[in-house]
């Protein structure tokens, strides 16, 4: 099994590398365009549909600091593809170098059980769960900014903060079913 390993290569100087994995290949391009606008740090964005990544690029590929799985909640296939891809990550990534990004969380046609499944998955992996509004350019810009916040920490560019430390603060929790009367 060709696992993607987090520490097998040396990091670049003032650079951060992010991998966006999305089955539909819709949002990742727009996110990538927003991410490369960052000027303080050189951000390299790599896109993939699923993992494992093709072997032929193995040598030239830099060290990936953050792997983001983009899950479209309106499609069950998206979730399944992300779950299958997760198996191709070295366990070292789950110390704060993985992140789940969901879209269409507010959509009426999404069965609520699906978001719960994603939440439980994120909680079990101790990785943050971000919700993104992909319908508007502002939403995409905001999602990119949030990813950059995590990416800078994961790439070691923020002093006194490691990826593991941040993942402890941002880890997803599964809220128990809150009855509307329950909080009285």
């Amino acid at each position: 099994m060709s696992l993607l390993k987090p520490f097998s290569k040396l990091p670049g100087l003032n650079a951060a590398n992010i991998l966006l994995v999305e089955n539909e290949e819709q949002l990742q391009q727009r996110l990538a365009d927003a991410l490369v606008e960052e000027t303080a740090v050189t951000v390299n964005v790599r896109l993939a549909k699923t993992l494992p990544l093709p072997l032929k690029n193995e040598k030239s590929r830099p060290r990936i600091d953050l792997v983001v799985f983009i899950i479209n909640l309106t499609s069950e296939l998206s979730l399944q593809s992300a779950e299958a891809s997760l198996k191709y990550l070295d366990p070292g990534y789950f110390l704060g170098k993985v992140c789940l990004l969901v879209t269409n969380a507010r959509n009426a046609s999404v069965p609520p059980a699906r978001l719960d499944t994603v939440r439980k998955l994120a909680a079990s992996l101790h990785c943050p769960l971000l919700c993104a509004e992909d319908q508007t350019p502002d939403g995409v810009t905001n999602a990119a900014e949030r990813l950059l916040t995590i990416l800078k920490v994961a790439a070691g560019l923020v002093p006194m903060t490691t990826a593991l430390y941040l993942s402890n603060l941002t880890r997803c929790t599964v809220p128990s079913d809150i009855d509307q009367q329950g909080f009285d």
Partner: protein, 718 residues
């Protein structure tokens, strides 16, 4: 082709045309007939018609799995349903097919979900479906789905007289799940129905679902239900997810009908200020109108004045006891007069209705929206701003907003409608400490640490505002003598003083944690530090300004970044905050001794304060930085190797990075060395009030001629 028919042509095939018809009408008859034959031929091949025929003729027990016919026909029906809506006959046929369970339960759910009417729903279809419901083979979830469907389409049922007579059957299906649905159907209830419920209640006791049902009745027809209901029933409405609603709106838009909502509380009126015709009406705040009360008790002798007729405050005061609330409670949001009345009267049912409408509108627009709806439209912003200003006017939030926010925070991306959401968040009432972490802190923490600096600042400001509101609420509602704050207002929060203090402590500690780690991650950014110091300016005065016997010191992660900040304003504000802490603590100590009240500031708090004070004075005044016990400790060798001369004075009033420029300035202006006092006066003159208060309250200086630097520290130590 019909028009070119020669009137003197040969007789046509149809021999039924009457012989006394003129040739002209015969030809027109023929053209009509030909058109009819054409139409029937088209229809016969139309997949939709074929599908309907299939569903009306299919035999019971036909298998579903692997049956391509069923799939094909269902798809055909669904296609028509979602594009144009189903005609009444189609609804009859499909409903009959589904509820009879001829092909098992699996197609039943799918069919129910696609039953979007184009015009009306025939009453007989609904009645027959209820009959099938009573047969008893349908699973519970499907029953619920059916009842929800009836509720959603209720307004579109063409006649309701037969339905009225079978309400009894519907009643028997009352369980906690579909409670709300059934009651909404029974909006046109008659007096005996309520009596029956009351009888049931007296037999069965105060069952929770009965109480719920009665409280709902009280909402809509308050004059019929006279018993008092516990105020806990305030938010018992499960705003159900109606996927039909969005499909219905889409279909009706296509057929250009005026959109109506099944919940009769929402609008039908156009906003008078905006002439543009609106399609999505559920967000509009309706114009204030008088209640449509068709069931007014004729024997009622009180003359009720509808709220819409009152235009000034004096009129409101005159008629305070005979005001009739409008049918559409949402209209109250626009009018400050109405809000004042609502706040004063504290009518449970009015708030229930308002909260129901508001919760419904918020859920529809933000939580269960259909894809592609633009969220930042003018309408949405206007609605939220109006809601915010109403909350600001009433100086508290609505319970439905609170419930909505807890759900919304879990799926928020942090930037959608940020100012409005943060505004609403700051208005939520005091959350009990048992659930504050899960409801509020966890989603906020996840958002805080993954968002940008500006979100962090915004959230700290929101939490500061929330703290202020909670403190104000406490100082208004707390009883003078007791420790118990039992709330009897419409917010219905029962909270003791200790419970309130717990929640407050949780909030302050939470912000302390956010602040410490946030400053670390953002590199002690001065904007973030400024918002954090705002928060602690509120916290330091909790005892004196708001009468709450609670003093919480800032964490080290906030104190030291502020002390060593490179901008003088932060240091000045920290000095002010430390001064206020001292005043509060001294006052608490004297009060504790005098009045012997049960409050008690722990030794730990005093110790923390003293430690901070000593560090600050030693650092700024005594030039004793880096000494053991002074907070920041470093090894001597390390300090020497840094080659900073006189490192112990590197953070005093002269050498502190924030004040170095002032010291140089002073030196240039004055020339030869001058006493410390002059330099301090110069600093005070620059506007550093905090420093002035701090120095004057903590540092006593022997006023000798040559004001040296080694003046003693006099701090109030316990």
């Amino acid at each position: 082709m019909a028009t070119s028919q020669n009137s003197s042509g040969p007789p046509d095939l149809d021999s039924s045309s009457p012989s006394d018809q003129s040739a002209c009408s015969r030809s027109s008859n023929r053209s009509l007939r030909v058109a009819e034959i054409e139409r029937r031929k088209n229809e016969a091949e139309d997949p939709f018609v074929l599908a309907l025929k299939y569903f009306s003729d299919v035999e019971a027990g036909t298998p579903v799995t692997g049956n391509d016919d069923v799939e094909r026909n269902l798809v055909a029906v669904e296609r028509v349903a979602y594009s144009k809506g189903l005609p009444p006959e189609a609804i009859s046929i499909m409903l009959e097919f589904a509820m009879s369970l001829r092909m098992g339960t699996s197609p039943c759910v799918r069919v129910l979900k696609c039953l979007i009417p184009a015009t009306v729903v025939p009453q007989e279809a609904v009645v027959r479906a209820v009959v099938w419901l009573c047969v008893g083979k349908i699973p519970l979830s499907t029953q619920v789905l059916f009842i929800k469907w009836v509720l959603t389409m209720f307004d579109m049922i063409d006649a309701k007289d037969q339905l009225h007579s079978i309400y009894g059957f519907l009643f028997s299906f009352v369980t906690e799940e579909n409670l709300v649905c059934v009651v909404m159907i029974l909006l046109h209830l008659r007096l005996f129905r309520v009596r029956k419920l009351l009888d049931l209640q007296s037999k069965m006791g105060r069952q929770p679902f009965l109480m719920h049902l009665l409280s709902l009745y009280k909402v809509f027809c308050p004059e019929l239900v006279t018993l008092s209901l516990p105020s806990r029933m305030k938010a018992g409405f499960r705003n159900h997810n109606s996927q039909w609603k969005s499909a219905l709106i889409a279909v009706q838009k296509k057929n250009s009908f005026q959109v109506t909502s099944s919940v009769s509380l929402t609008v039908r009126l156009k906003d008078k200020t905006n002439p543009r015709k609106r399609k999505h009406n559920h967000l509009e705040v309706p114009a204030l109108s008088s209640a449509v009360n068709t069931q007014t008790n004729p024997s009622s002798s009180r003359k009720l004045v509808p709220l819409v007729q009152l235009h000034s405050f004096s009129l409101l005061l005159e008629n305070l006891h005979h005001i009739e609330l409008p049918a559409q409670m949402g209209s109250l949001l626009g009018s400050s007069l109405a809000l004042q009345y609502l706040d004063c009267v504290q009518d449970e049912s009015a708030f229930l209705r308002l909260n129901f409408w508001l919760g419904h509108a918020l859920h529809e627009e933000f939580l269960f929206c259909s894809s592609g709806v633009s969220q930042n439209s003018e309408e949405v912003l206007q609605f939220l701003d109006r809601l915010l200003s109403s909350q600001h006017f009433l100086q508290e939030g609505f319970s439905s907003t609170e419930a909505f926010l807890y759900k919304f925070l879990n799926i928020w991306d942090g930037s959608l409608l940020r100012p409005q959401i943060l505004g609403m968040l700051s208005n939520i009432p005091v959350v009990p400490s048992s659930c504050i972490r899960q409801l509020l802190f966890e989603p906020l923490m996840q958002l805080f640490f993954t968002s940008t600096l500006f979100f962090k600042c915004g959230l700290i400001e929101c939490l500061n505002s929330m703290l202020l509101k909670w403190l104000t609420w406490h100082s208004v509602y707390a009883l003078e003598d007791g420790l118990d704050i039992s709330l009897n207002s419409h917010t219905s929060i029962n909270m003791t003083l200790s419970g309130f203090k717990d929640s407050l402590m949780e909030l302050v500690h939470f912000v302390g944690r956010l602040a410490s780690v946030g400053l670390q991650i953002e590199g002690c950014h001065s904007l973030l530090l400024s918002f954090i110091l705002d928060f602690y300016e509120t916290v330091c005065d909790m005892f004196l300004k708001y009468g709450l016997p609670l003093v919480v010191m800032p964490p080290a992660g906030v104190f030291y970044p502020a002390l060593f900040a490179t901008d003088p304003v932060s240091v000045d504000r920290l000095a002010h905050i430390m001064y206020r802490y001292k005043v509060n603590l001294m006052s608490a100590k004297t009060q504790e001794k005098q009045t012997e009240q049960a409050f008690h500031i722990s030794r730990q708090t005093y110790r923390e304060f003293n430690h901070y004070l000593v560090v600050m004075v030693n650092c700024l005044w005594n030039s004793k930085m880096f000494q053991p016990g002074m907070g920041v400790e470093m090894e001597e060798e390390l300090l020497v190797s840094s080659k900073v001369p006189q490192y112990w004075s590197s953070f005093d009033f002269i050498h502190h990075p924030a004040f170095l420029s002032y010291a140089v300035d002073f030196h240039h202006k004055v020339g030869h060395p001058k006493p410390w006092g002059w330099y301090l006066e110069y600093l005070y003159a620059q506007g550093f009030e905090g420093l002035k208060q701090f120095v004057q309250s903590n540092i006593s200086r022997r006023s000798t001629a040559g004001d040296g630097q080694g003046d003693g520290l006099s701090a109030d130590q316990r």
